[in-house]
């Protein structure tokens, strides 16, 4: 999956560099818009289809809320500080951080409503976030505690990084991680554009 992402983006970049003057480049905004709507509809379907999970989560709801809210507050703090560091607009930093590791979507949304440079930063920073997750989860699970090990993963804790969390913690933490990822995934499409526009 990650390999497919790298290859597809690279091919796109190569295409953009080599063929600067053609119908795809000229209509890029419209193309992204239409495909984005198409993709998000199916992402929504996927989120909605997970209703059975919510039944087993009742007694873990406090842990889930604590983890999810902490990740939102922590990520946005990191985004705001980085924006200050590079003299960017606060809304840009917050929106980038609100991808919570979901690189494909946050990058595309910010390319769409912001600009290509912002989209690239959102994309790359969330790729880095996922890579850091693979490195840090085993260490954090041992040195801090299990719930903290969900922190680096953000929205990816329901799919790509769930296996590494589950391997290094326990079933309780894995379930919290999954639902955390589900909530953050549902929040990203709303939070990224809102933060970008509001601040």
């Amino acid at each position: 999956m990650s390999l497919l992402v790298v290859i597809t983006v690279s091919l796109g970049i190569l295409y953009g560099v080599l063929f600067n003057d053609n119908p795809i480049v000229a209509n890029l905004d419209l193309l992204i818009q239409v495909t984005l709507g198409f993709l998000l509809f199916f992402v929504g379907l996927d989120i909605g289809s997970n209703r059975s999970v919510f039944k087993g989560i009742k007694d873990k709801i406090f842990s889930v809320l604590l983890v999810t809210l902490s990740i939102i507050i922590g990520s946005l703090t990191g985004g705001l500080l980085t924006a200050l560091l590079f003299a960017m607009r606060p809304g840009e930093g917050l929106a980038i951080a609100a991808g919570f590791g979901w690189y494909s979507l946050s990058g595309i949304i910010l390319t769409n409503i912001g600009n290509a440079e912002l989209g690239s930063i959102a994309f790359l920073s969330n790729v880095f976030r996922e890579l850091l997750t693979f490195l840090m989860v085993p260490v954090i699970a041992v040195k801090l505690n299990y719930l903290s090990a969900i922190g680096p993963a953000g929205a990816t804790s329901m799919d790509t990084t769930l296996p590494i969390i589950s391997k290094n913690t326990d079933p309780h933490t894995a379930l919290v991680a999954f639902v955390n990822g589900l909530i953050l995934t549902a929040v990203v499409p709303f939070l990224v554009p809102l933060l970008y526009t509001l601040f």
Binding site: V5, A97, A116, R129
Partner: protein, 92 residues
């Protein structure tokens, strides 16, 4: 064009909640997601590649991106760790 994003996710979410999920439907949705994602990532690449400002500044963009990733991760972990210490009894 934010409304496209909101409408598409909400519509899908509501529909997904009430649909009968057979294995074949799950597979179809997952394949369509993959198709949409692949197309979008390609277009995103094109928008980067056709923009000389980005191609010429790739190392600075890389540095910014790394800092965003790193600081988001550090503060997320810190926030959870502090919260679990405060609410120790409720999360154990």
């Amino acid at each position: 064009m934010m409304w496209v994003i909101f409408v598409a996710v909400t519509l899908g979410g509501v529909l997904g909640f009430f649909l009968k999920w057979r294995e074949s439907l799950k597979k179809a949705v997952s394949n369509l997601q993959l198709l949409g994602l692949t197309l979008l990532l390609f277009f995103m690449g094109v928008s980067v590649g056709s923009n000389p400002d980005i191609v010429d500044n790739l190392s600075l963009i890389g540095l910014k991106s790394f800092m965003y990733g790193l600081l988001s991760v550090i503060f997320s972990v810190l926030a959870i760790f502090i919260a679990t210490k405060i609410f120790r009894r409720k999360t154990s």
